[in-house]
């Protein structure tokens, strides 16, 4: 499990169209573990999409990863993921399936959502919640935006770590 300042685990996962997606050395990359069935993930989702849109010109890449056990939670199945993408719910954000759950384990992801910000060298610079309150859209993913601003300026996010809030990752039995 990476600590702040460690190189984050590399991965290759397929998105809902079957295309492989990896870390590619973007100026900053947001890896967000998320899912379809969790109200916290859904509540924060528009703010994550806004971040993807607002930082795309700066070359920031946002990758959403669903690691949940879809056998026990069918709403997290690949078909349901595809349906959300086709409905336009992931504009500008590839939605990846972590079927083996190995990526979530490698990142020590705890909840959906759980957000990780990596710099251009793939080093983990921020980990935690998007902002302080899932129920307050005016928070506007402030912690995530501050982390990205710091990384893009070559600085250190403050805070670099917050407590992720959401539904527990649904691990396979």
């Amino acid at each position: 499990m990476p600590a702040i300042g460690d190189r984050a685990p590399a991965f290759s996962l397929t998105d809902t169209s079957g295309a492989p997606q990896q870390l590619d050395g973007a100026p900053a990359t947001v890896v967000v573990f998320t899912c379809n069935h969790c109200p916290y993930a859904l509540a924060w989702h528009p703010r994550i999409l806004d971040v993807a849109r607002d930082y795309s010109a700066a070359g920031v890449r946002v990758l959403a990863i669903n690691p949940n056990d879809a056998e026990r939670y069918p709403r997290d199945s690949p078909a349901q993921m595809r349906a959300r993408v086709e409905q336009g719910e992931f504009e500008g954000v590839p939605y990846l399936r972590d079927e083996s759950q190995q990526v979530a384990r490698a990142y020590d992801a705890k909840t959906t959502p759980d957000v990780f910000v990596l710099d251009a060298g793939g080093v983990l610079r921020y980990r935690g919640a998007p902002d302080a309150d899932y129920d307050d859209p005016s928070q506007n993913a402030r912690w995530l935006r501050d982390a990205l601003d710091a990384v893009l300026e070559g600085g250190t996010p403050d805070p670099a770590e917050t407590v992720p809030v959401g539904c527990s990752i649904k691990w396979r039995p």
Binding site: H37, C38, P39, Y40, L42, A43, Y134, D135, C167
Partner: protein, 111 residues
Amino acid sequence: MRVELLFWEGCPSYANAHAQLRASLIEAGLDPDEVILREIETEADAESHQFVGSPTIRIDGVDVQPPHGEPTGLTCRVYRRRDGRFSPTPDPADVRDALRAAAVSTAGDRS
């Protein structure tokens, strides 16, 4: 009036839901300590209580935001606020309306 909060420990939203429910009861002039907390621990429990997710609030047996065909199970429940946002807890206005409706129904039964 019977006020029940059914919850699953695996979803962190029940504490907020309980606090909001207590506030709504106080606002309605009712006793917040009358909330019956019922923990749902297994899938079998979920099925027998028709529990579609945590938290679930029922006033006199009626869900404050009746589910629309969701399967029973141990999961966090997705609510829609009145402004359309997703939320882990019901809209406080829905809770207040359910309490009012139950109060009217109870008064009607007594008249």
